[in-house]
């Protein structure tokens, strides 16, 4: 069963570089990488609208949540998503697909370690240890090899 889920994870991962490559090409066709990002987000929004209605039978939520949660959560995720998506579209034609994936994964791991180390966003503190440090060094060597050859 777990093998099935792992394959599911790999397939989901494959969606990302394909999306970025498609969006980079769309950027050339419509004459603007930002417009390509926008079209991609609108298509995604519409798909999620249908999915939310189909699975949760609603798209609304208790507006009381606006008062009980910090204000930045409502647009933080979307703005960060735009930064990630648009950067990927701009970088892929310049770095190639593999190097773009490798460098953004490095950034993700470094940030994940920082979040754990300092317990940001209410995550339990998990200190940086030697194996994690070796892990980061491995990844950076991987970037070096990809960049060189």
């Amino acid at each position: 069963m777990i093998v099935l889920f792992l394959i599911g994870g790999m397939l989901a991962g494959m969606a990302v570089p394909i999306q970025t490559s498609i969006n980079a090409k769309m950027g050339r066709v419509v004459g603007s990488p930002y417009l390509a990002s926008l079209i991609s987000m609108i298509v995604g929004t519409m798909a999620l609208l249908i999915l939310s209605l189909a699975i949760d039978h609603r798209v609304m939520f208790d507006t009381g949540a606006f008062y009980t949660h910090p204000w930045w959560i409502w647009f933080g995720g979307g703005l960060l998503g735009v930064t990630y998506l648009t950067s990927n579209i701009l970088l892929l034609p310049r770095l190639g697909a593999a190097l773009t994936v490798v460098i953004t994964v490095c950034g993700q791991m470094i940030m994940a370690i920082c979040i754990d180390e300092f317990g940001w966003f209410g995550v339990p503190v998990h200190e940086l240890d030697i194996p994690r440090l070796i892990g980061v060094l491995c990844m950076l060597s991987g970037v070096f090899l990809m960049r060189k050859f």
Binding site: G9, I18, G44, T100, M109
Partner: protein, 155 residues
């Protein structure tokens, strides 16, 4: 000239590192929205909707237009327009897999999938990407990345 080119690449790599750093923060923020609205799908919907809204002024600012020649819809392949669906598949799978596999295995399997397909895209030059054949050092780089992700996620 060559020196200027490699300086530019370093700049792009730093940019990519920064863009990657944004991703776990987004996940953390979206997890809070998910608890607030009581549905992972509605949380993703809010995230995509806000993203689309933010891209309208950004596109106007950078390229001074929001429309494109509609003739390109006929002359381009259909799959050009469905990139956003792949983004949704990615988000939804993440949400579904996380409780089944745990954080470490979810990240590792996703990164493996990303690397494999990215190498193939470069190797064959799919979707109009510049061709960059697979070779041993690149494969070694891939293995190092996966080992690195495993070490960071397991400890």
């Amino acid at each position: 000239m060559k020196k200027k080119g490699s300086l530019l690449i370093i700049l792009f790599l730093a940019w990519g590192l920064g863009a990657g750093m944004v991703s776990p923060v987004q996940t953390a923020v979206n997890a809070r929205v998910r608890t607030a609205v009581g549905s992972p799908l509605i949380a993703s919907l809010i995230s995509f909707f806000v993203g689309a809204l933010a891209l309208v002024p950004l596109t106007l600012l950078m390229d001074r237009k929001l429309t494109f020649d509609p003739r390109v819809i006929k002359t381009s392949p259909w799959w050009l327009w469905i990139g956003g669906l792949l983004g949704v598949i990615f988000v939804a799978s993440n949400i579904l897999l996380l409780p089944l596999l745990g954080a470490a295995l979810t990240v590792v399997s996703i990164v493996c999938g990303q690397m494999v397909i990215a190498m193939l895209i470069d190797h064959f030059g799919w979707f109009g990407v510049a061709r960059h054949p697979i070779n041993w050092p690149r494969l070694a780089g891939l293995v190092l990345l996966i080992v690195g992700v495993l070490l960071v996620q397991q400890f």
